[in-house]
């Protein structure tokens, strides 16, 4: 029996169903931006000579993707720690130094992304960021895989326990982590493809971008589908018993559907087809985020029954959050409206 700690005695702040919804929403939001850097940066490096306009636009977008991706990443981690602290903390403590090192590595990667965006050693800086961010992605996958597998904890602990403590230099090198990273990387190429399609169609006066981006979109989706298909075909059988068939179908088929839409966009490159493609790619991310959540809940359901944990009913703080969210959305709407108006006003010909 693995040493799984008990649930937090303070209980759940609100019923777990709401927490799951918020966690999935946060993960979806994080994945959108994180996909942009995970595949966008290598694509920008590779295409620097052959498609310089695409490469420039991708590199210029990276500081924003990083800022919002890191920010959105707070949400799923917050609700993961609310729902499953007794699994998440041991999994990260067992790999403590590697988990801790994410912070300095992210700092270097983020600085490199800015350096590239400001035109300092663009390719070298981007390359440094690619390597570090891919490693961080793997580290995340490893931590999340271990979170859901308490049965693996004792062996890792016994090899890393000076006087009963953990030295923190153990890395859970799990093939599952690689497959999960592969799935994410596959989706990431699709997200970059959809982003480029949207960018090209919104930048109607940037003919160079349109010329370079439009043919790339289906190619990126094809690469993404290849990686997604390969990782998925190896990963899906391992979780098939924990994932309802309808979700298997949705998560698995969403990517080929988006891939088909990418070819449709190639045939008819217009704002409407770019928007359809973006919505379908959003569906890929959302269906996979839901599937991931269902699998995690089933895996951890062997060790804890969340339904038995008392609920505190923190509705007052939920109200505070919702009111702030509404005010925030209104403020953001005004900011985006203003930004949109000014950007269009002074766009160079």
């Amino acid at each position: 029996m693995p040493p799984v700690p008990g649930p937090d005695p303070l209980g759940m702040p609100i019923p777990v169903g709401y927490l799951f919804v918020l966690k999935v929403f946060g993960f979806f939001l994080h994945a959108v931006f994180m996909n942009l850097w995970l595949a966008g940066l290598p694509v920008a490096v590779i295409l620097a000579r052959s498609h310089p306009r695409v490469s420039d636009r991708l590199i210029a977008a990276m500081p924003f993707a990083m800022a919002f991706g890191i920010n959105a990443g707070i949400v799923p981690l917050l609700f993961l720690q609310t729902l499953y602290p007794q699994f998440f903390y041991p999994a990260t403590i067992l790999q403590a130094w590697f988990w801790f090192l994410i912070i300095p590595l992210l700092l270097i990667a983020y600085t490199a992304v800015y350096a590239a965006a400001f035109g300092r050693w663009r390719i070298l800086s981007s390359l440094v960021a690619v390597i570090l961010l891919t490693w961080i992605g793997f580290q995340f996958s490893a931590a999340m895989a271990l979170t859901a597998r308490p049965d693996r904890w004792p062996a890792l602990f016994q090899n890393a326990a000076p006087a009963g403590g953990v030295h923190g230099w153990t890395l859970a090198l799990d093939p599952e982590a690689l497959l999960r990273l592969g799935l994410m990387a596959g989706m990431a190429f699709g997200t970059v493809g959809a982003f480029l399609a949207l960018l090209a169609e919104l930048s109607r006066d940037d003919s160079r971008l349109q010329e370079q981006a439009r043919p790339l979109v289906p190619i990126l989706f094809t690469i993404g589908l290849g990686i997604f298909g390969l990782a998925g075909s190896l990963y899906a059988p391992t979780v098939a018993d924990r994932l309802p068939q309808i979700l298997q179908l949705l998560a698995g088929a969403s990517m080929p559907i988006a891939w088909a839409a990418a070819w449709l966009y190639r045939a008819q490159p217009r704002p409407a087809t770019a928007i359809v493609l973006t919505i379908l790619q959003g569906g890929v991310l959302l269906s996979n985020a839901i599937a991931r959540q269902v699998v995690q809940a089933a895996e951890l359901g062997q060790w804890v029954d969340l339904g038995k944990i008392p609920v505190r009913g923190e509705w007052g703080s939920v109200f505070l959050f919702l009111v702030t969210l509404l005010i925030g959305i209104a403020t953001l709407a005004w900011i985006f409206k203003t930004v949109w108006a000014r950007v269009r006003e002074v766009r160079p010909g």
Partner: protein, 443 residues
Amino acid sequence: MEFPVWVVPFLTAPMLIPLVAIPHVIVAQFAVGGGFLLADGVTWAYRHGRADALDYLRDLARFFVLLTIVFGAITGVGIWWTIGLTAPESTSALIHVFVFGWATEWVVFVIEIVSAFAFYYLWGRLRPREHIAMGWIYAASAWLSLVLITGITAFMLTTGRWTPEANFFVAFFNPSFLPQTLIRTGGSLAIAALWIGVHLSLRAPEALRDELVPRISRWAVVGMLLILIGGIGFFSVLPDHARLNIIRAPLLLIMTALNFGATLIALAAFGLGYLRGGRWINPPEALLMLLIGAVAITSGEFLREGARKPYRIERYIFSPGVRMAEAATLQRDGLIAHSPWLQLHLRENLGLTEEALRDPARLPEPQKVQVGEALYTYHCSSCHALDGYNGLRPLIQPWTPEMIADAIRHLHRTNPAMPPWLGNESEREALIAYLITLQKGGP
């Protein structure tokens, strides 16, 4: 005690928190105070048609956005990261009490980032009124972020009327919330003035410096006033154990003196800046003043953290990660009985039986010492490294074995910063046996 313990030699794992948190606070407070100063500067420059000031402020905004968005944001997440690794019980408790406070802070943080990007990247494209509004939206959201986080950190020091049954608002509006909000708001205005002082000394023309320094000094003097009012409030609501810690611990006394000294020097500099303008400011002086401001923040943070002992969350969780409500059970059943990871180590790595775990004092000496060493890891190592920070080995060298035994028996009576012994009598004997071996230069 239900989680594994991460052992960081020499430093102790929790000491990684200030390594991340202090640089973060120095930058994050700049992010808050700098928002007000930038918004005020832009408002003034537009109203007076000062193109030269706007050019300079654009340069400052670039430095500001880069530093605060990159370094501030990542180290902020880094603190959360580190506390989860070093104090999982407390992090879980904070999250379960404040999850929607954090979610609210996230919303505010999104507005902060979006408005900061719009403010800088659309410089020269936004109309003056829009640009000014963007600056003030940023300043307001950054300050709200400070307020929300202060409610959570202040709770750790003063839980006030909160009990596990009480709600979010009782925890949030705890006794030191308002004083700490005033201190942090004031501190952010002051440190922002010092950061901008450095930037002004390096990048602004002399005439503009002369105009801007009194302007930022005025904000900083207001900040110092807030620190003073908040400081008085803070010391008046400190729990008795925290006051006693500050008086008794030499390190905390030094930090208090440093805090007061650095704050006074900064106040004098701001007064001078307000009265005499900024022509005289040069980069070395400005950097020195920033360093003094950083010392004030560092000592203040150290003081707040150090005063909290023996709790991680006042009257709820002791520093070894044991909830106060569980102390009596642990003292009756033993620490080992309620620490699954410790049990795993003792059973699988040391090959001890269930019976031996129940009464380690009866084990042969070498095994008893090994159990004692593991108990040190779980009970003591979060505050005491063996040889480095708060080192246990050097601490007990001059003690006799009787003194060691006596100190462990009356931990919380000999020092208000220490928790009570959180195991049973037999485990205490095992820990004492281990500590005595340290005196002999052992393991």
